[in-house]
Symmetry: C2
Subunit: 249 residues, 2 copies
Amino acid sequence: MAQNIYDDPAFFAGYSTLPRSIRGLDGAPEWPSLRAMLPSLAGRRVVDLGCGFGWFCRWAAAQGAAEVLGLDLSERMLERATADTAGATGHDRISYRRADLDTLTTTELPSERFDLAYSSLTVHYLSDLDRFLRTVRASLVPGGTLVVSVEHPIFSAPSRPGFTTDDRGRVVWPVDDYLDEGPRTTDWFAPGVVKRHRTIGTYVTGLVRAGFTLTALHEWGPSPEQIAEVPEWSVERDRPPFLLLSATR
Amino acid sequence: MAQNIYDDPAFFAGYSTLPRSIRGLDGAPEWPSLRAMLPSLAGRRVVDLGCGFGWFCRWAAAQGAAEVLGLDLSERMLERATADTAGATGHDRISYRRADLDTLTTTELPSERFDLAYSSLTVHYLSDLDRFLRTVRASLVPGGTLVVSVEHPIFSAPSRPGFTTDDRGRVVWPVDDYLDEGPRTTDWFAPGVVKRHRTIGTYVTGLVRAGFTLTALHEWGPSPEQIAEVPEWSVERDRPPFLLLSATR
């Protein structure tokens, strides 16, 4: 069972202040890269695994998706997603359901149902990657697409994450424990937020083993244009914060 | 054109003292992982891109490969490879040729010729990855396999590589410049050794774009058994030194 930190009041309040919570997809700097990985959605069936406030679900419906299912573990997030979706373009094609993505079955995720499975910054909360990937693959039609983002393993590896100054006075990202996978507990809006550190090898091997064909692997960092707009993002090029993957069934 | 550092006398002398130069494949700790990625070689045609002293070529011939071609830029290495191969098992099925892997053509690498293309710790010296991958893919028979190892991008990224102590007194690997690809010049047996830093994303995207299907991505670190044998290798689990990839045409 995944930790339901998003229903922690302090976490929820803090998370709600992020640009991506307020502005949605346009507040997420990796969104243009993620969007470039997506197939055309017109007339397609889409599932968003870890849908949060429903920004992607509403965007998919506005792109003409025939059916959009958003799953999330957080009741608070689903409440706001539902409220924000009332009256949105294509709202009658969007439904939200509560689900623990660590224990998904064909009840929540019917077989050969979806053309696209999308999951943004969620999978690093899950404890059983192989089970998740197998279930998601089974829910895709043949030729269907999975697009997923996670915290980059370089970002999640360190025993104590955060830029640091080394004995030569350089600001560096202090990598240790990269190959030692497992829970990483940090304080982020609330104490004791548990994410799972996995290597890139584990993500890729997991996809291949589940029967996917990998089509793209993008280590996201800000573009020169984004850095010109938000200069403090330049350090994100020193170690990428996000890993984006796409694969087909 | 790739830098021919292996023909530098100081570099060659130093490199020749490495366990992998003296003991061959068994002196390379990543070899068991790389070997596990290989198809059966009996009756197959094999090319080794960056064959060095010819250890892999001789091993492949001993496995029953029908034809083994070793290519390398270094005259000194090819001389020793040729000398060491005289009288080896299957030596009459092995040939060596000098080639710059950055300018390979179908003369050196005939179309649809090989069942396996193998390249160990060579590709990070090349300046044109896409050209190399396209040429190698064309030289494989349909269903043929590419197995390649490179320095891991976490290893090659830092502007000043080497474990360092941070302001909390921790020994860490100081990652910076990860997303900024290009030459990295270090002193390693000789001054001014130029390797190319590329991200994992660039390697994987390069393979996909060249028409390969990725079958495995392994970030190599020592096993508990290897650390028990050589305790100082334990830091290699903090940041993997090698990236191993396999793909099929």
